[in-house]
């Protein structure tokens, strides 16, 4: 028997609005013993990632020049590590694009080397 106690974390899965309460039991070495409470396999993945390196989709907006509206909303096409959010925001703050932009347009490819793109979520027409 190992001397250290297993760790247990109760999490709320954020992968979909059901927000399942997921319980994960693991060791100091992040070895997973058990995951329960998830209604689908994505909840298991989520819990495992959560104990080592939580990931989230970053949503924010960027400035648009000559657009019908001054801002276009953007998001990362997939979740990126939460620990990169500050750095990501300091880059996004300085961005400015020229209208028109279309939903799905890539603003930054392979954002912060995550393999994930920063994309536009609202089309803005040119003024």
């Amino acid at each position: 028997m190992s001397s250290s106690q297993n760790l247990v974390k109760e999490l709320t899965c954020v992968r979909c609005p059901l927000g399942c309460k997921v319980k994960i039991e693991y060791t100091d070495e992040l070895e997973v013993i058990d995951v329960s409470g998830n209604k689908c396999p994505r909840g298991r993945e989520y819990a495992i990632q959560e104990i080592s390196d939580p990931h989230r989709i970053l949503v924010t907006s960027i400035k648009v020049k000559n657009g019908k509206y001054p801002l276009a909303s953007v998001k990362t096409s997939e979740a990126i590590p939460l620990r990169l959010f500050e750095e990501a925001m300091s880059i996004i703050e300085k961005l400015e694009v020229e209208a028109p932009v279309k939903m799905g347009d890539i603003i930054i490819e392979n954002f912060l080397n995550t393999g994930v793109n920063l994309i536009v979520t609202r089309s803005i027409e040119r003024l």
Binding site: I57, V59, S61, K75, R122
Partner: protein
């Protein structure tokens, strides 16, 4: 100008877009009236993701949900920048726009007017009416659409979803959120939002707390909060002071029922499972009927309202039979209020207290649903098949389910 149509939809948000689409799909000629210059309503400023998983089977942001819904409206007449002045019982809708006053003769109408935010002024908080106090929706509009920064340090009152989402949004924009205050003993929004909006950023949530005073000369300088007892009275000696220049309030939404306030409402339009209001030819859906958790529910309801409005316009659906749906034990919100038993129905339920495991029953239909951790902020949805027309009333109730095995 005079228009003639089968179905008019008022409001181009999630409910209205879905209603217009489905009324057309069901063979009606549709006119959609939208007050703004774009459809989408509040979806445009809700730039976070988590929308559409049920309705479009995709994880979308608000603006993306809007674009997907708008795609489907290609051949529908949308009149932007319109303001509805009057709805007459002879099925005439009067509205204004830049060109003047117009009239539509219709056969059926869908109200999809959404909700507005309750303001701090409607709460008994003493202090001058200083600047620096915003509703969450207004702050969201400033930050997400207009590129304006409301302040530099904030307290948020109310932990409903909008309050939680604004806590994250402000933090990302470099505005320090000192605290989120919630008068109830549990968070007001979805669990997932507590996790990804507060816990992710280490923002403290004070449950059973409220704002008791605001101080400042012209701009807000200080928010004073206190813990409350079960009657919501502040407990002396528990005061906390926050030196902030911004107070964001997220203290609830009120269904918008104008200009159809002649219809039965409490506080939103009272409707049946076919979205029919107290006036046969008027249907209503979305947050103008009851405040929903998810835009997906709003869109589904809109779609249903559009369908029945189209059927009504074609003479294929008339006055539905009405079976009263009664709130039983531990039910806070129950929607709809009536059921036409010849049609399928979807019940939206909020329990009135927190349950570890709740058994929710619909009697005398013998329907039972078990929910783990039922909480008032999370709607429980139950679908019912058509049932015996001789039933006069159905009742929904919730009970704690105590597991015998412990």
């Amino acid at each position: 100008m005079k228009y003639n149509t089968d179905v008019v939809v008022i409001g181009g948000g999630a409910a209205g877009m879905a209603a217009a689409y489905s009324a057309r799909e069901n063979g009606a000629k549709v006119i959609l009236l939208e007050r703004d210059e774009d459809t989408g309503g509040v979806l445009n400023q809700c730039i976070h993701n988590g929308f559409g998983l049920q309705y479009f089977k995709k994880d979308l942001t608000g603006p993306e949900f809007k674009e997907f819904a708008k795609e489907r409206l290609k051949d529908i007449d949308i009149l932007f920048g319109t303001y509805v002045l009057e709805i007459r019982k002879d099925k005439t809708i009067i509205f204004v726009d830049k060109r003047g006053i117009h009239e539509i003769q219709t056969k059926a109408l869908v109200m999809a007017t959404g909700a507005r935010e309750r303001h701090l002024n409607s709460l008994p908080v003493p202090g001058k009416r200083i600047t620096g106090i915003f509703t969450a929706g207004l702050a969201q509009r400033f930050i997400n659409l207009e590129n304006l920064k409301p302040g530099s340090k904030a307290v948020i009152l109310g932990s409903g979803d909008i309050g939680l989402i604004m806590a994250r949004r402000l933090t990302l924009e470099g505005i320090k959120v000192e605290a989120v205050l919630e008068i109830m003993p549990y968070p007001g929004g979805l669990e997932r939002n507590v996790q990804q909006c507060l816990k992710d950023f280490g923002i403290p949530l004070y449950l059973s707390h409220t704002v008791i005073a605001v101080e400042g000369d012209r701009r807000l300088q200080k928010v004073i909060a206190a813990e409350v007892d079960y009657k919501w009275d502040p407990i002396p000696g528990t005061e906390k002071e926050f030196e902030v220049d911004t107070l964001i309030t997220s203290v609830g939404l009120i269904p918008q029922i104008k200009p159809a306030d002649f219809l039965e409402a409490d506080p939103g339009f009272i409707v049946s499972n076919t979205n029919q209001t107290s006036e046969d030819w008027i249907f209503a859906a979305g947050n103008c009927t009851v405040i929903f958790d998810l835009v997906d529910y709003v869109a589904k309801e809109g779609e249903k309202a559009g369908k029945y409005a189209a059927l009504y316009a074609k003479g294929e659906y008339s006055k539905g039979k009405k079976v009263k749906v009664r709130k039983g034990e531990n039910i806070g919100i129950l929607h709809p209020s009536y059921i036409d038993p010849t049609q399928e129905s979807t019940l939206y339920i909020r329990v009135s207290k927190v349950f570890d495991r709740a058994s929710i029953k619909v009697e005398p239909l013998g329907v039972e649903v078990i929910e783990n951790e039922a909480r008032p902020p999370e709607m429980v949805v139950i679908k019912l098949k058509p049932f015996d027309e001789n039933i006069d009333e159905i009742e929904v109730m919730a009970d704690e389910l105590i597991s015998k095995l412990g």
